[in-house]
């Protein structure tokens, strides 16, 4: 039997029961639509989170004080941990492949300008902070390369702080009070928006040494190390550890490459997407049961036709393939409809809820169609086998 004839025959047997065929295909369509929709949201979320993190660059390593053991508990509280110092940050610039290092401490502080006051997130950083985290200055400049131990009282404002305190006025050169001290504004950052709930625009940046004094702290919270994008990460990590251990006498710090964080996030988010797809797959199973049911009925109704086909020379295999073909075609049609439905709803969601990240990679569509046909074939096996094994004579007699 030629493929065209095969397709034609299965097609006419499906179209001879339009309502039944459409309802069965709808079952598969709903399943596929559910899978497409849920995985689209999962994938959208995945991309969203990864994008949030990669905007800081991926060739970044963060050094934090205290060591995190494999059990996740910080030993820092128990053992003696030497504070992470500005000198540590300076020393790390000597590590091979390292381009820039930047010490950082963060806290809350009150800023006052012209009688208006505002609580902001205060970042004490070096001059290279904006470069290390790929943040851009909108006007003026970022903090200058002063001697970090005796830096001038200069500040850079996040875009939101600038807007709230200065409105339309140009803040450059203006003076304001931060935690009781006077600072001169040298720059305003570009808006960065919220990242996982943190408003990066409601911030003020001042030299790290001054911030440590203001917060009355000895230790930095983080040192950001930016390395050459093509450099081998393992070597960079080892170099950082070597320098730090030499300075601290022990590994009382933690080195976290951004790439590793991304990997961890990726794994977690993939698992999430998979779980969500599995939930959608349940409805697909229901659709498969629909095919199984309808095909079982069809085999019973068409027993005498099967007998005839066998009498005029169809082999068992031919009968098996015919019914499997019907199951596959039914599922494929349902799958295609489900794809359209899933895509449609995903698109509509995007319009109604622009904040919800939805993304459907095209290979999901292909995969969904393959899965649909697979479900159809799986559901078709039992009835098709029953049809193939019918005794031709008995089948002919049934009417």
């Amino acid at each position: 039997m030629s493929p065209a004839d095969f397709a034609g025959f299965t097609f006419t047997s499906l179209t001879s029961h339009r309502l039944r065929t459409s309802l069965t295909a709808l079952g598969i369509a709903v399943g596929i639509a559910a899978v497409i929709l849920l995985t689209s949201i999962g994938e959208g979320l995945h991309r969203f989170v990864i994008a949030e993190f990669t905007q800081f660059g991926t060739n970044l390593v963060t050094v934090t004080p205290g060591r995190i053991t494999t059990h996740g508990a910080s030993l820092g509280a128990v053992n003696t941990v030497r504070p992470l110092s500005i000198d540590d940050a300076l020393a790390l610039t000597r590590v091979r492949y390292v381009q820039v290092t930047d010490p950082m401490v963060q806290g809350n502080a009150e800023v006052v300008y012209a009688g208006k006051s505002r609580r902001v997130t205060l970042y004490g950083t070096g001059a290279d902070f904006s470069r290390a985290l790929s943040m851009r200055v909108a006007s003026g400049e970022f903090l200058p390369h002063d001697d970090p131990r005796a830096a001038r009282a200069l500040a850079v404002l996040g875009s939101k702080v600038a807007k709230e305190l200065f409105g339309g006025e140009n803040p450059l050169g203006a003076r304001l009070r931060i935690g009781g001290e006077r600072y001169r504004i040298v720059g305003v950052m570009e808006s960065k928006g919220q990242i996982l709930g943190f408003d990066l625009d409601d911030t003020v940046f001042i030299p790290v040494g001054r911030a440590l004094d203001m917060f009355n702290r000895e230790s930095l919270m983080e040192i950001h190390v930016l390395y050459e994008p093509t450099a081998p990460l393992a070597e960079v990590e080892a170099g950082i550890k070597r320098v730090m251990v030499a300075r601290h006498g022990a590994e009382d710090f933690t080195v976290t490459p951004q790439q590793k964080m991304l990997e961890v996030f990726g794994t977690v988010l993939n698992a999430l997407t998979f779980a969500v797809a599995a939930i959608g797959a349940i409805s697909l199973v229901v659709g498969g049961v629909g095919i199984l049911t309808i095909l079982t009925i069809a085999v019973a109704e068409r027993t005498s036709e099967i007998g005839l086909l066998r009498a005029i020379g169809a082999t068992q295999r031919a009968i098996l393939l015919l019914f499997l073909g019907e199951a596959a075609l039914l599922a494929a049609v349902g799958g295609a409809a489900g794809l359209a439905m899933g895509w449609g709803i995903a698109g509509a969601l995007k319009l109604v809820l622009p904040a919800l990240p939805v993304h459907t990679p095209w290979h999901y569509a292909v995969l969904a169609e393959v899965v649909a046909v697979g479900v159809g074939l799986a559901a078709g096996v039992l009835p098709a086998r029953r049809a193939a094994r019918l005794d031709p004579l008995e089948a002919l007699r049934s009417e």
Binding site: F9, I312, L393
Partner: protein, 232 residues
């Protein structure tokens, strides 16, 4: 062309055994027109099904075209049916959703006959069986006689060695039955081999050769003079 030797067919129903065919010996040559008659339950259909390779004997030997087909596998049987045997049934057995033309084509489709060749054969068959006007009609739009003509055209489409017709007029009124018989007889006149099971003595009597069966055995085998009216 068909040679049966010592054929036995025994059905087991629960504890009981039904001896449907008892040591049947039969030789049929190509081009014969043979009717099989006998009371209900005498084994006529069983014999026809065995010859049509839809069934297997419990004992004995069956040769078709000089080839032993007794022990063929299911697939081999299917292939022989496809190429050498045309069935005509009492209840027509047309596929209801297919048109007359599609029904006639079905064996050629299954056998994978080239589409051009198929179209040509279909055209001839439609003409031969006076079905051109009905080609696009589905079985439920056809009369019983037309349905049976479609079935005969279908049986002929693969140019089989033998046509097996089990009570082809059993479901038709007398007049239509005559029409269908005329069609089958034309198949015979064109050189086809026809085996016909019937209850109607008049119809059975028109065959060249008549077998009588009782209780699974062939009790008489009469040949009439060429093409004439054989007696009982």
């Amino acid at each position: 062309m068909i040679r049966l030797r010592g054929i036995e067919r025994i059905f087991r129903v629960g504890e009981e055994e039904v001896h449907a065919l008892r040591s049947v010996d039969l030789d049929i040559t190509a081009g014969e027109y043979l009717s099989i008659m006998g009371p209900s339950g005498s084994g006529k259909s069983t014999l026809l099904n065995l010859i049509g390779l839809l069934d297997r004997p419990n004992a004995g030997r069956y040769e078709l075209d000089e080839r032993d087909v007794t022990g063929l596998t299911d697939d081999e049987q299917a292939r022989v049916r496809r190429e050498k045997i045309g069935f005509v049934f009492q209840f027509f057995h047309l596929v209801p959703r297919l048109t007359a033309a599609q029904n006639i084509e079905l064996p050629m489709v299954l056998a994978g006959v080239d589409p051009a060749e198929r179209r040509e054969r279909l055209r001839k068959l439609l003409a031969e069986y006076a079905l051109e006007a009905r080609a696009r009609h589905r079985p439920d739009q056809l009369s019983g006689g037309q349905c049976q003509r479609v079935a005969i055209a279908r049986a002929m489409s693969m140019r089989p060695a033998v046509i097996l017709a089990d009570e082809p007029t059993g479901n038709l009124d007398r007049h239509t039955g005559q029409e269908v018989m005329a069609v089958l007889e034309r198949v015979h006149h064109d050189g086809g081999t026809v085996l016909l099971v019937t209850h109607d003595p008049e119809i059975g009597g028109r065959a060249q050769r008549t077998l009588r069966m009782i209780d699974g055995a062939i009790v008489s085998d009469q040949k009439a003079d060429a093409g004439g009216n054989g007696g009982t």
